[in-house]
C-alpha cells in the first residue's frame, strides 16, 4: 500500500513536487514575515531604551506601545 501511495501510478514526481513547492513557499513566506516582525520589534525595544524617562512615560501613555513592549519581552 505504501509503495502504491508513493508511486501514484507514475504521477508521484508531479504530485509530490507540486505539494513540496506549495509547502516550501509557505515555509519561506512564514519565515520572511516572522523575521521582519522580530526585526521591527527589536528596533522598537532598542529605540525605547534610548528615550529619557519623560519621553518613555509619554510613549507608555499609549496602550499599543505597552503591548508591543510586553510582547517583545515575552518572545
Amino acid at each position: 500500500m505504501i509503495s502504491e501511495l508513493l508511486f501514484m501510478n507514475g504521477y508521484a514526481v508531479y504530485v509530490l513536487s507540486a505539494f513540496s513547492f506549495t509547502l516550501l513557499s509557505f515555509l519561506g513566506l512564514y519565515l520572511v514575515t516572522k523575521m521582519q516582525f522580530v526585526k521591527e520589534q527589536k528596533k522598537f525595544v532598542a529605540k525605547f531604551g534610548t528615550l529619557t524617562t519623560e519621553q518613555a512615560n509619554s510613549a507608555k501613555s499609549q496602550r499599543i506601545n505597552k503591548e508591543i513592549l510586553a510582547n517583545a519581552l515575552n518572545n
Binding site: 501511495l5 501514484m8 501510478n9 507514475g10 504521477y11 508521484a12 508531479y14 504530485v15 513536487s17 507540486a18 505539494f19 513547492f21 506549495t22 513557499s25 509557505f26 513566506l29 512564514y30 514575515t33 516572522k34 521582519q36 516582525f37 521591527e40 520589534q41 528596533k43 522598537f44 529605540k47 525605547f48 528615550l51 519621553q55 509619554s58 510613549a59 499609549q62 496602550r63 499599543i64 506601545n65 503591548e67 508591543i68 510582547n71
Partner: protein
Amino acid sequence: MFKLFEPNKIFKITSKAPKYVLFLFIVVLTVGLVEALVISPEDYKQSDAVRIMYVHVPAAWISLGIFSSITLLSICGFVFRNKNFFLISKSLAPSGFVFNIIALVTGSIWGKPTWGTWWAWDARITSMLILTLFYAMYLIAWRIYDKEEKVYKISTFISILGIINVPIIKYSVDWWNTLHQPASINILSKSSIHSSMLYPLLIMTAAFALFSLLIFLMKYNTELIKIKNKGLDRL
C-alpha cells in the same frame, strides 16, 4: 463605527491571534494533506495527477479573493478617509502574491502529465500571469514611494486596473476555447465534482485561507510596529 477597528484598539487581539491561527492551520493542513494524498480517489481520466488540484485550485481561489479584497479595501480607504484600510490591503498583498505564484507553478506541473506541456499561452494561464504582474506592481509601489498620500493613490490605481482582470480570469474558460475545463464548482447551482473530491478540496481551501490569515496578522502587526517606531523618532 470604524473607531472600533483602529489599530490601537485591535493590536491586543492581532498580536495574540497568530499563535492560535498557526495551531489551527497546522491541524487543518494535516487533515487536508491526508485527505488529498491518501483518502481521496484517483480520477478515471487523469489518474493520480488529479491530486495536484488540491493545491492548485485553492491557491488560485485565494489569490483572486485577496486581490478583490485589496481593491475593495483601497477604495474604502478613499471613500471613508481611513488609513487602516490601506494598512490592511498592504498586509494582505504578500500572501496573495505567493498564492498566485503557487497557482501558476502547480498549474504548470499539472499541465505536463495532462496536456503534455509545461506552459501554454491560453486565456486562463495568461490572465493569471497578468494578475501576478499586478500583484508585483502593487507590492513595488509600496516599496518605492515614501509619501503616504502618493502611495495610497498609486496602489489603489494599480488595484483598480488589476480588478478588471479578475472577471476575465473567472470567465476566460467560458469566453474562449482554452485548455482549462469550465468551472466544476458552482455556488448557485449543483457542482459537477463528486463529494469524495469536493471535501478534500474544501479542507485544503480552509487550510490555505488560515495560512493567508496568519501571514496577514503577522504582516499587519509588523506594519503597526513600524508606525510606532516612527512615532518614537518624533518624541
